[in-house]
Symmetry: C2
Subunit: 420 residues, 2 copies
């Protein structure tokens, strides 16, 4: 029904629709549904006991401050904890370089607000994180998508897109959402050099960096950039803004993320945050600090790694066992997702509907491409962190059945075994 | 120091600077400072024990859900509690009409995002809430300011401004921030009729409505609007969007506000909220629900009213005792603020600096006028909720001394008694 308001929506809201994932989450409420759709942590990894102790401590020892208005930049001890935590990766940040945000999604929104004029181009990976597209779309972003492969963004294809003058690049180097791939060390160096040569800065989104299940940690872009610029004066200058979150290591229900940036950018972002929500909940910040402190976060992340590594392995094995050979998937070294590629010509909408009928959900790949990518996708994003191992096995069995029912002579091609 | 980012700020950030209040809050950290500056609740009114019980209950009985991702629209029981709570004022809302926001500030930001194109005019009171100006400025709002007096917005001056075609009106009918005044019942009727006649909808901001210390509750605009439209089908249609918050009744550190609107507007706002911060903290929503439920909120609000009424009275009496007769102030029937008017010609900047020297802080009135109001202000906003009664007396004594030191022959005018 229309009201006095309906005719008054601003231009920027045209074409802003609810994300497919959000609608999906509604379907996944159905009883018996096994969901590989959302990016939800396993419900059993939340450190509930530690949360309870933290709430008790905060409310008995710091009650007025923890419930009162707070600084827009965030709770100082939490900013210090973040700065200290990321120093292990060589990121030389001080508390003043850290802005606490209401989840990493707000970090993306504030970056869009600060940098994107209507029509500005943002260089993104294809595929890329749909939450970033949603945040940037509202500010009128256009996109230059650059293809990626198993080693992440294909840096050898970057020069022409960079010459077209994007406002910045948005990159997820570790266990990318949705593809699950990791940018190789060689490409990291190349990316930072190109950013410097063409004067195009980088937003490095790293929500999953700590959740590595195999291989060695690779240096963040923000560190390589500083080395390249031969600056050793901490985070006072640089081409890279670094984002991360407590959503995957503590709990997403806290809505606590952060931005690491040079002080002038932090100051400007804080001004915008002031108008956006004044500050992030002091209570959740105090509680998160009490939960994370004294090495608990590291210990807890080790536990999460162990649980998610097992789930990833279970999913990889189930895919191997259940899926026909013409279907391929990525092998993520960490994070929450893997990316399945179905044969060309497959009807993804039909596959999705069959999957829902079979009580298994995933996110069709289309959602993860910016508006400059025209062709439909034959991909599925599968989350392996939320469902328990037995559910993962059962869910992949159901999904394989749904996929197989839509593999036709046309999609199978020459190499398709007859028995599929 | 400038970086690759500095030259890339979007046009919308031009002229966005930190609010005076925010800078002020830094000054008020000084030891010995008595602050009438912020809009902070009294630290001793937070129901800490009840919070502790709520945290315990939520974490033992609802732990995975309370820490997990949640719905963008908000936690369903909390939406219902809000809808139920406001029904006492005649607002016929259902849960589906309620969007939980990250503080009332986010409500203002989302409204700006949804409705304001660059150059659109917003009709505001003069003076008005500076947080709304901050939220709307970033979307390029222009303003039509309409003067107010002791009975709120002067509706007899509205027709010409309404004919200029503002996108909407932004009004605080109860115990306005900053002026502390209340829109009279007659003017409420008139405002709603004019809104309907000119087809200009209203954003009704009501953060303090429950904190009334004298007189009878007056009907909200949203209720009068429905009566005027002769609709009795709940909140399915209407010209008024209604905003409120738990910041003044439970705790601002939770960052929990809400928007009440027709379903199509709620749907659109939820899409924008999804890109802005995905959803408001599930944990604080679960905790707030447990704190507020079973009539606790009402009981607690009665306690707050009692405490703040006393502080208001102490401040009014101290003003009466300490301030010279050519200084006047409003007599708020509720809320957190009163508004002091100094003689014309006073040097407000000098008064403010003297006050800070004397260890007492307030917010100079300039901050509360939209950009279309050119003349400087001779007003001070004083908060009476945060400081204890004895501090209020001492603070007003100091403030009176600071003010008197800047009253000159020029400012005193004809009616000034010589002994001042």
């Amino acid at each position: 029904m229309s009201t006095a308001w309906t005719s008054r929506y601003a231009l920027r809201t045209k074409g802003i629709t609810s994300s497919q994932i959000r609608e999906l989450l509604k379907v996944t409420q159905k009883p018996g549904m096994i969901s590989f759709g959302g990016g939800l942590p396993a419900p059993d990894v939340f450190p509930v006991q530690r949360f309870e102790e933290a709430c008790h401590k905060v409310l008995t020892e710091q009650a007025p401050s923890a419930l009162q208005y707070g600084a827009t930049e965030g709770y100082e001890p939490l900013r210090e904890l973040v700065a200290n935590n990321i120093s292990r990766y060589g990121i030389k940040a001080k508390a003043e370089n850290v802005l606490i945000t209401s989840g990493s999604q707000q970090a993306l929104d504030l970056i869009g607000k600060l940098f994107i004029n209507r029509g500005d181009r943002v260089l993104v990976e294809a595929p890329t994180y749909l939450g970033a597209l949603q945040a940037f779309n509202v500010y009128g972003a256009e996109y230059v998508s650059v293809p990626s492969d198993d080693n992440g963004l294909r840096t050898e294809l970057l020069e022409a897109p960079l010459r077209s003058g994007p406002k910045f690049m948005y990159v997820l180097p570790n266990f990318q959402n949705p593809a699950g791939t990791t940018l190789s060390e060689g490409r990291r160096h190349e990316l930072v050099l190109l950013a410097d040569r063409y004067g195009i800065p980088i937003v490095e989104d790293d929500p999953y960096g700590q959740l590595r299940y195999e291989g060695e940690h690779l240096p963040p872009l923000v560190v390589l950039d500083r080395e390249n610029l031969r600056r050793d004066d901490g985070y006072s200058i640089g081409n890279v803004i670094y984002l991360s979150t407590f959503s995957k290591t503590l709990a997403p229900g806290l809505r606590l993320g952060w931005i690491v940036a040079p002080p002038d950018v932090i100051g400007k972002l804080a001004q915008l945050k002031q108008g956006a929500d004044l500050h992030t909940s002091t209570f959740t910040q105090f509680v998160a600090y009490e939960v994370a402190r004294d090495g608990f976060l590291d210990k807890h992340v080790r536990l999460i790694r162990q649980i998610y590594r097992e789930r990833r392995d279970v999913m990889l094995q189930a895919l191997e066992e259940c899926f026909p050979p013409e279907v391929t998937w990525t092998h993520p070294h960490g994070g929450l997702f893997l990316w399945v590629t179905l044969p060309a010509g497959i009807d993804m909408k039909a596959v999705f509907e069959s999957a829902i009928e079979q009580n298994v959900a995933f996110v069709p790949g289309d959602s993860f491409y910016a508006s400059d990518v025209r062709e439909g996708s034959r991909h599925m994003r599968l989350n392996f962190s939320n469902a328990a191992p037995e559910q993962i096995r059962e869910g992949i069995r159901r999904l394989a059945a749904a996929v197989k029912s839509h593999l036709t002579a046309g999609t199978l091609g020459a190499y398709a075994p007859l028995e599929v």
